[in-house]
Amino acid sequence: MRIVPLHRPSRAASAVACAALLAAGLAACGGSDGGGGSGSDKDPVTVEVTFKDGEVTPSGDRVELAVGQELDLEVTADEPGTIHVHSDPEQELEYPQGTKTFTLDFDRPGQIEVESHDLDVVIAQLEVR
């Protein structure tokens, strides 16, 4: 897995993720400027997730995050599917074929698994401190 600082957050993706989070009852969403405003002034962390030919990278990597720090999951896939984020409450991220970025943040410290249930694989474990 490559973790790179993100320069320009995708506004549309943030909005979608926010809507998903709000729907799930989680109120900790980033501000309308797509960054900051959510309790952490650290740069967002980007994780590139690639689904190709029934395989996924990364598989099982640890990602360290601060509480409130944004995580941008940049999903590139050769067919649509769902990513499961085992936070409380759980979140389902539906990604299309192509590339889509999901912006998440977490307001409670702990370890959170990001899984593909289709492939039975833990993509990453988030260590939120």
Partner: protein, 440 residues
């Protein structure tokens, strides 16, 4: 498939490395301190002795032992059983169904914690025991011994097997969060318990009910005992020493420690990558992983305890079961460390879900609005410290228990050196447990 415990989402952060190392070093140093400074004459009873204790106030003792309390607890257990059956049969097939929380948290984790504090809780509330009891009373039989004697050689082996079946359901089986599958597991459990209870009476539950074997085993770390019809309070070590050395006790130890360790290990990056890269299906890997962890834990203990030198009058093969009780504090401490937040947060959440048993938006208990506070999540350093303290305390208790039994069993010339193999095994278990709390 890989969802932890089949329930709940977010889990604890790993404990910091410094704490894990300090804990392991403390365990090592304290072990040898125990060996050197502890008493040289056995202080606690052998497995068949009933050492005394300080009686609690007579009124309290009378209340605890009164038939009303006994029947009340049985009714409580039965009501929860009926409730669980209703949710299992008429509830929705989602994790919001309280059935999952009732079996995976209240029964599996809650009963163990309660037994640690209060004594043999499952024996007191077990609905399958209640049915066996009523059946034999109704037919004029003997509720304790049934129609056949429980074979002594079998000991608690069936209990160990039942525990393995449960941890397999919890940690390995794909359908652990599918209502029909968990319901089937428990239907088989109840059926086996009822048939066994009809034949062997409550002796069967004592040896073959996985939850009772587990609950009664850890209950010996509680400070309570009943001596001469009176509730007494005494050292948990005195209680622990009365553990019957049944055949299969070492296997119970292996399954409980091995499975909890595997539950931690299966969250490690190493394991996740190994499963991903393996040429076989993940299910095969999980099956192998659980089996290997339980076998290794059981065999390590068996070997470590068998290396203890003995006099001519004691068979070496009896050593594991004569010393197995000393592993209970290590297991209990590790289970506390592993499950504490899980029990507090999701036990609470289950109470909320139980208020709406069929997913119809009801609030029959008035608890539907409860939400877990996740207090420990926000105090990760405190939580990690509690875990390490629990593990070190458990380790020291175990070392003392093993020491007391060793000086009872060992010939005088081996009393100190003879303890070393088991002591090293225990340090290994404790350090291994701490490593898993750090890495997973």
């Amino acid at each position: 498939m890989i969802e932890a415990h089949g329930i709940g989402g977010q889990s604890d952060l790993p404990i910091p490395l410094e704490l894990a190392v300090s804990g392991a070093v403390a365990a090592l140093v304290l072990s040898f301190t125990v060996l050197v400074v502890a008493w040289r004459r056995p202080r606690y009873a052998g497995p068949d002795g009933i050492a005394g204790g300080r009686p609690v106030p007579a009124a309290l003792s009378a209340v605890v032992l009164s038939p009303y309390t006994r029947v009340g607890l049985r009714v409580l257990g039965f009501v929860v059983l009926l409730f669980a059956v209703a949710t299992a049969v008429a509830g929705v097939d989602q994790l919001t169904n309280p059935f999952f929380g009732i079996v995976y948290i209240w029964l599996w984790v809650g009963v163990a914690f309660a037994s640690l504090l209060l004594g043999p809780v499952w024996k007191a509330i077990s609905p399958v025991r209640t049915i066996t009891d009523l059946l034999h009373r109704a037919t004029g039989g003997d509720p304790e011994h049934g129609v056949r004697d429980w074979p002594t050689w079998l000991g608690v082996w069936p209990g160990a097997l039942g525990l393995y079946a449960f941890v397999w359901l919890e940690l390995v089986y794909d359908g652990r969060d599918t209502l029909a599958d968990v319901r089937l597991w428990f239907a088989v459990y109840v059926a086996v318990m009822l048939v066994g209870g009809a034949v062997f009476g409550s002796r069967f539950h004592q040896h073959a009910d996985p939850f009772e074997v587990y609950s009664t085993m850890v209950s010996r770390l509680s400070p309570w005992a009943v001596v001469d019809g009176r509730v007494v309070v005494r050292s948990p070590l005195a209680n622990l020493a009365t553990t019957p050395p049944s055949p299969g006790l070492a296997a119970v130890v292996g399954v409980l420690f091995g499975s909890t360790a595997f539950d931690s290990f299966s969250g490690s990056t190493f394991w996740l990558k190994a499963v991903y890269d393996a040429p076989v299906h993940a299910t095969v890997m999980y099956n192998l992983g659980l089996l290997v962890f339980c076998l290794v834990a059981g065999l390590l203990f068996a070997v470590g305890s068998s290396l203890t030198p003995v006099g001519k009058d004691l068979q070496r093969s009896r050593l594991p079961r004569l010393l197995a009780h000393s592993m209970v504090p290590i297991i209990a401490a590790y289970i506390v460390a592993h499950y504490l937040t899980f029990l507090v947060d999701y036990g609470w959440q289950t109470l909320a879900r139980a208020s709406d048993p069929f997913g119809k938006g009801w609030d029959i208990l008035g608890t539907a609005g409860l939400t877990p506070g996740y207090w420990f999540s926000y105090h990760p350093t405190l939580l990690a410290t509690i875990k390490v303290l629990a593990v070190v305390t458990g380790h020291v208790t175990a070392a003392v228990a093993a020491h007391d039994r060793a000086i009872r069993l060992l010939p005088a010339r081996h009393q100190i050196t003879g303890q070393l193999p088991l002591l090293f095994t225990m340090v290994g278990f404790t350090a291994g447990g701490l490593y898993l709390l750090f890495s997973a």
